[in-house]
Symmetry: C2
Subunit: 263 residues, 2 copies
């Protein structure tokens, strides 16, 4: 398999499609946005679209397809949503039923795909600005936590916001607010910083998802709304069928991160 | 004296000039920038200009005059720097020698005036965004602290940064970073938030200038570079003559705060 920096998103997707690339996408095609994927039947699509509209920090939408549409121009040339993500989770009635590498057999004409912005985009921007990210330095998954911040409900979709946490020095935290504020399409500004208990996190050393990461005495924990939020809401909705990407195995799009800057 | 909201800056300055207005300017002409004033002999002006350039967060320059110039178009129509500030401090060899209401007797052809942005501008923006500011609610002066953050020296001007502190909830602190980042001409983004000890503040309940303010358990202290920084640097330089405004008795300019937005 080729080096990530040498592949463009088109090439990476074709390697995924052929089965040559079956690993997490972090670190590949860093200039381009990677997307969380949610695919569900059209009868629930308008409720989920409303859920995303009402919870834009956790569920910033990069694109939404038409029923049955597995190619969305906005996301990439020659893209196939059925095959271009290195791993898919299939949930039935809220339970993980299968993990597959393509959706050719499960695809239906009533399925609607949602591509949701991913923190990989702003992490790339933070590192480009010289802000160290410990979980990346230590090659771990980012630490994620359930909070007591209620999502705005829409149909069967509700639940609490999930956040990712990155420890940083205060001056870097201020710079990180500035940088990520420019990118509302990939979660935007932090939702909290400082005392974890104020958003319902009892023990910062025990994340609900991902890996724990040390917070140094001169650092402050900074929390962003996380793309796991919609997955939690979807599972709790217990729909007969929902398909997502496997966490970390993202859809790599043709959208330049820099093009997502709101200002 | 007329109500502050009814006066425009031109009218306020004329009331100041006539002696009808001799009080702090906070709360007057809220849509317009108020300025810290530093006036010193031309022989030290280039060093002080360099000091401001090297310490832009503490010393954001709105305007600099030519030697002897007491009218600066950029600051306001029909403005007279010798009379339009409600109170002036005259320092001789670093000591406060006199407090006067105008500079007619002390003005010289070699004096250079520096107008430095003031946090009143961004406080107006924060309150307009619904962020409560406790020192204003309690009608106190903002709490200010000497830090261990060294200024970049220029000629005789050096010393440490002075910061102002405003306690706020984390979500408001994040919003405040966004709002104040747009206004580098009035100190811009915070320089620190969270643990005061990390910037050399031993006791947050005892400010070095201004009034103490309570920090609630669900709040975080947020620190901005403060316009008192250049005054400290100037006093420590012990020049034969320096003139400043009296703290709180600012020069009210014709510059709309909104026009200072960098983006």
């Amino acid at each position: 398999m080729e080096n990530g920096d040498e592949m463009n998103p088109f090439e990476l997707r074709h390697q995924v499609r052929s089965g040559a690339f079956r690993q997490p996408t972090a670190g590949y095609c860093g200039d381009y946005a990677q997307a969380n994927l949610v695919i569900l039947p059209a009868q629930h699509a308008s409720d989920f679209l409303l859920f995303c509209q009402r919870n834009p920090r956790a569920c910033p939408l990069l694109a939404v397809g038409e029923p049955g549409q597995w190619q969305i121009d906005r996301l990439g040339a020659d893209l196939d949503l059925r095959s271009d993500t290195p791993g898919y989770n299939i949930y039935r009635h809220g339970e993980l039923a299968e993990q597959v590498h393509n959706l050719y057999e499960v695809w239906r004409d009533d399925l609607v795909a949602f591509a949701i912005g991913c923190s990989f985009s702003f992490e790339h921007m933070l590192m480009a600005a010289g802000i160290p990210l410990r979980h990346i330095e230590q090659r771990r998954n980012v630490a994620m936590y359930r909070t007591n911040i209620a999502n705005a409900a829409a149909g069967p979709f509700a639940g609490q916001m999930v956040v990712s946490m990155r420890p940083m020095k205060a001056a870097d935290a201020i710079r990180a607010v500035q940088i990520t504020s420019r990118f509302p399409a990939v979660h935007g500004a932090p939702v909290h910083l400082g005392d974890p208990a104020l958003i319902g996190i009892a023990d910062i050393s025990r994340p609900d998802y991902g890996d724990p990461v040390e917070i140094m005495p001169d650092e402050i924990p900074v929390f962003w709304a996380c793309g796991v939020t919609p997955q939690e809401a979807i599972r709790h909705a217990r729909l007969p069928l929902v398909i997502t990407h496997q966490p970390g195995y993202m859809l790599v799009t043709d959208i330049l991160n820099a093009s997502l800057a709101a200002f």
